[in-house]
């Protein structure tokens, strides 16, 4: 590297620091879209600089430019005052820049050491030098408090541990500047705390960290400075000490945002959905649900919290008739509906907002109108016998587009050209328009911008006021705490406890999400 080699600039990993990285006037255009518009951004050794913005604000694009995945149309990048061109990720790595992607880039069947060594030259080529790699991993792990066993196959590791492997991988390759793309999205609160300990250690050792997130409280907890992007524009950079949740939210959205909702106290009514002793198998044939008991009452939102992959998806599918239960039953308004088809359940007043909206919620190649009519098209006045009634459909869609504030050029626009938030509003419009008795909402705001999230939350609360029984499945504890009347925690296919929101504590919920039973938490 062409940088200074003075000893004081070395990191504990033995690599050189990057004292100052600066991006100036970066512009990136995609066909028809200005993704990043003259953005300045810099980060110094020894600080966490958070990059905040809604989906599509350009944060990931900007960071992919820094990591060499995209090439900017305009703008320059400086490392310690020297102008550099980063053509590819291998260039970036050579300059000491590492990136932890939201979706881990690990080979599950290989061990930790093998994953770290992947793509690097062995010191004993053509033979492997995994013992050398392992020793080095242990050394790094000790320095940064990143406990992992180099001999463990990655598929046996928990999500938090896999993330540590990713960080180790980057450190091993000499990353002095580390980009973390939404690193907390998949972690439990405890794992987030552990991650933050590591990050603080790295910062005090002289690393420069860029922390991408849209969770305001995490940004406030970990960073020294925050830069906010909106619609590809630079909104501002502020010292974290002077920022508040409300001020950051205003910068992100460009207007005041409700961060807490006024949830009117209301007496929950009769149980509308009961799940009794349900067991079911996962796609791989292992037991995903091990005797689930739940009850959701009219006018109540029951939040189902848990780390992803603990049976949430399977539970929603069993309730909605998409996956057979091996034992147990599902009762809707006093009527047993176990094993009924989605078609029948729709008619009985159940709605489902699926987790994967692009594959399960909408048909990508269909238009906005066609997607809105996915369930109602067979009913009068939208069709008579087999013939559809375009006028009634157009009128209905216009009404839904207006009342759910869906931003679309026309009803005939293919849905794939809408933003995630608008697509989710469309799914919501379709599912809520029928005034369901029971609503299963799985990750209703994942990947949705703050403005749309706020809107979706408000609609769920409106529905609660109308007497719908809502099962809100979410990995976002903040969302559950903001909306749910009661919170159930699922771990490895079992409900480990149900608590009222009034007595819910984040720490206790976090322990339950990690599998500690409620009684043990209380004791």
């Amino acid at each position: 590297m062409a940088m200074s080699t003075a000893d004081h600039k070395l990191l504990p990993t033995g690599h050189e620091r990057i004292d100052h990285m600066e991006m100036r006037g970066i512009v990136k255009r995609f066909p028809g879209v200005l993704a990043v518009d003259h953005v300045d951004f810099d980060v110094r050794a020894g600080e966490v600089h958070a990059l905040l913005g809604e989906n599509g604000a350009g944060k990931s694009t900007l960071m992919k430019i820094l990591y060499g995945l995209y090439h900017p149309n305009e703008g320059e990048i400086f490392l310690d005052g020297e102008r550099v061109t980063i053509k590819s990720p291998s260039d970036a790595i050579a300059w000491g820049i590492g990136m932890i992607h939201q979706h881990f880039m690990l080979v599950p069947s290989l061990t930790v050491a093998e994953n770290v060594a992947l793509g690097l030259k062995s010191t004993r080529a053509p033979l492997l030098d995994l013992d050398v790699v392992s020793a080095r991993i242990k050394e790094l792990a000790k320095t940064y408090g990143l406990q992992v066993d180099p001999a463990m196959p990655v598929w046996q590791l928990a999500v938090g541990e896999r993330q540590r492997v990713e960080i180790l991988k980057a450190l091993y390759r000499g990353a002095a500047l580390l980009i973390l793309d939404e690193p907390t999205a998949v972690l439990t609160p405890q794992e987030v705390d552990d991650l933050f300990v590591t990050l603080r250690q790295m910062v005090s050792d002289g690393h420069a960290l860029i922390f991408i997130s849209h969770k305001l409280h995490e940004v406030l907890a970990i960073s020294q400075r925050v830069t906010v992007l909106r619609d590809g524009h630079f909104v501002g950079t502020v010292p974290t000490a002077e920022a508040t949740k409300a001020s950051l939210a205003r910068m992100m959205v460009g207007r005041e945002v409700l961060l807490t909702y006024e949830v009117r106290a209301q007496q929950a009514g009769e149980p509308r959905l009961r799940v009794e002793g349900v067991r079911a198998a996962s796609d791989r044939g292992t037991e995903a649900l091990r005797g689930i008991n739940l009850e959701v009452r009219a006018g109540e939102i029951l939040g189902l919290a848990g780390v992803s992959g603990n049976g949430q998806r399977e539970l929603a599918e069993v309730i909605f008739g998409l996956r057979p239960a091996t034992t147990g039953q599902v009762v809707l308004d006093g009527q047993e509906v176990t094993g009924k088809s989605p078609c029948d359940l729709n008619k009985l007043g159940m709605s489902y907002i699926p987790e994967e909206r692009m594959t399960d919620g909408v048909i990508r190649d269909f238009t906005v109108a066609e997607n809105l009519m996915l369930q109602e098209h067979g009913l009068r006045p939208y069709s008579y016998s087999i013939f559809m009634n375009p006028r009634a459909i157009t009128r209905r869609c216009a009404e839904l587009i207006r009342s759910f504030n869906i931003r679309t050029p026309t009803q005939e626009t293919p849905i794939k050209s809408l933003s995630g938030g608008n697509i989710q509003k469309l799914v919501l419009a379709r599912e809520l328009a029928r005034e369901p008795a029971v609503l299963i909402a799985a990750q209703p705001t994942r990947g949705v911008d703050i403005g749309a999230t706020e809107y979706i939350h408000q609609r769920l609360l409106d529905q609660r006021a109308k007497g719908t029984a809502t099962l809100l499945i979410s990995e976002d504890l903040d969302e559950i705490l903001a909306l749910a009347d009661r919170i159930a925690v699922i771990y490895e296919g079992e409900i480990v406890g149900v608590v009222d929101r009034a007595e819910a504590q984040v720490e206790a919920l976090g322990l339950m999400m990690a599998g500690v039973h409620r009684e043990a938490v209380a004791g």
Binding site: F30, P31, G32, V33, L34, F320, L322, S341, P342, C343, D344, L345, N346, K347, Y352, P354, T359, D360, G361, V362, I363, R364, D365, F366, E370, M373, L374, Q375, H377, G378, S383, I386, F387, M388, P390, A398, I401, R402, N405, I406, R407, T408, P409, T410, Q411, T413, P414, S417
Partner: protein, 399 residues
């Protein structure tokens, strides 16, 4: 809220619609060099091709007769491809339809011809639908790949036909011959699908006009199958885009998961789209039998009866953008290439394989232009949406 799209958005779309035409011309231009390589004059060759396909009344009639089974198979293919199933079984389904038509026709020789013709056509549709339905059930309930099953059902239909025509269905006069020709009895002439000429005469009579000089088609072999095919193409268009059945078929084809989540019975619609697709291929077989061949013959296998329409119909449908109305000009184009190719071979002395190569070129160019159009339209939508929403944002911002 709705956004306003700029006018250029719509203009660009209109231009794109003509692109396939340019693609065909370009393919013929490149084909000209191939003809040059064979020491023939491309202009002479194309003139011969045009004359052969459209030069005379009889040529046009021939072209349309050839286009009929392509169009019928093609509109069925539109349904199955839109429904997310790949039906390669057109050949077998045509044979099933042809067998049904000949069986019904021979059984009811003495009955009222109009009724029997209708029964033959309905029977051929049902037979093709059942033959396609087998693959549909295998796919929907047993997860058997429909490409493999329909291809295998082609073989079964071909050999089944050869067996039947040599045994149960054989012409009684051939049965005792020293060297029996494996063919069925010819259907009585009363069961020939009426020619367009005759129908037009009747029509003029009905309208009280003098027919003799107005009717240009009296002497051609063009039968009413093309009229049936045109009408059914419109019916299929209405089915796919104006009915709940078509909507569900398309939904299942585009995203079976989301369709299931929305309460559509995915298996039923998979079977239905293969049955409808097979039905139209079966009808193509029935019309081919009543209009052109009038008997089944076991010699020459499937192709002698179908003329490969079961496969070429797929090409016509793809060429027509998997749209029933687009398939009309597409099947006429391929009919013209097939008929004109014969003339080309005779008059310019180039191998008829050249026609196959030309058709291949046309397909490559049209598919390429289609990809180009799709790319451009995606870009255009993106630009239009971003501009229109920026505009809307400004409108909102100003009080």
């Amino acid at each position: 809220m709705q956004l306003n799209l700029p006018r250029s958005f719509h203009l660009g779309r209109t231009l794109d619609a003509f692109l396939p035409l340019f693609a065909v011309l370009l393919a013929l231009f490149i084909g000209g060099f191939m003809i040059l390589l064979m020491d023939a004059n491309p202009l002479d060759a194309y003139r011969a091709l045009w004359e052969g396909a459209f030069g005379t009344k009889n040529a046009v009639a021939d072209t349309l007769v050839k286009a009929t089974p392509l169009l019928l198979v093609g509109i069925g293919i539109c349904i199955s491809f839109r429904g997310g199933v790949v039906n390669i079984g057109g050949e077998g389904q045509m044979i099933a339809g042809g067998l049904a038509a000949v069986a019904i026709g021979l059984q009811y020789k003495e009955s009222d011809p109009t009724t029997v013709i209708i029964a033959c056509l309905v029977g051929s549709f049902v037979a093709g639908a059942l033959w396609g339905g087998i693959a549909g059930v295998l796919k929907a309930y047993f997860n058997v790949n429909e490409i493999l099953s329909t291809i295998m059902l082609n073989q079964i239909a071909t050999f089944g036909m050869m067996y039947l025509v040599r045994s149960e269905f054989i012409d009684p006069r051939q049965k005792n011959a020293a060297a029996p020709i494996p063919e069925t009895e010819r259907l009585p002439r009363s069961l020939d699908l009426p020619r367009i000429g005759g129908t037009l005469d009747d029509l003029y009579d009905f309208l009280g006009l003098s027919a003799a000089d107005a009717n240009q088609w009296a002497t051609t072999l063009l039968h009413n199958g093309i009229v049936i095919a045109f009408v059914l193409a419109i019916v299929v268009y209405v089915l796919l885009w104006r009915t709940t059945v078509g909507y569900r078929i398309r939904a299942v084809g585009k995203n079976p998961r989301a369709s299931r989540y929305a309460g559509i019975k995915v298996e039923q619609y998979t079977v239905l789209s293969l049955m409808l697709s097979g039905g139209f291929a079966g009808l193509a077989g029935g019309i081919q039998l009543l209009g052109v061949r009038h008997r089944m013959n076991a010699e020459g296998g499937a192709i002698a009866f179908t003329g490969n329409a079961g496969f070429n119909g797929i090409v016509a449908a793809l060429f027509g953008g998997l749209h029933p109305l687009g398939t009309i000009p597409a099947s006429i184009l391929f009919g013209a290439l097939l008929v004109g190719g014969n003339k080309l071979q005779r008059s310019v002395q180039v191998p008829s394989a050249l026609i196959t190569a030309l058709i291949g070129l046309v397909i490559v160019f049209v598919v390429a232009s289609d990809i180009f159009v799709r790319h451009r339209s995606r870009r255009r939508v993106a630009v239009a949406v971003s501009e229109a929403s920026a505009e809307a944002a400004e409108v909102r911002a100003s009080p």
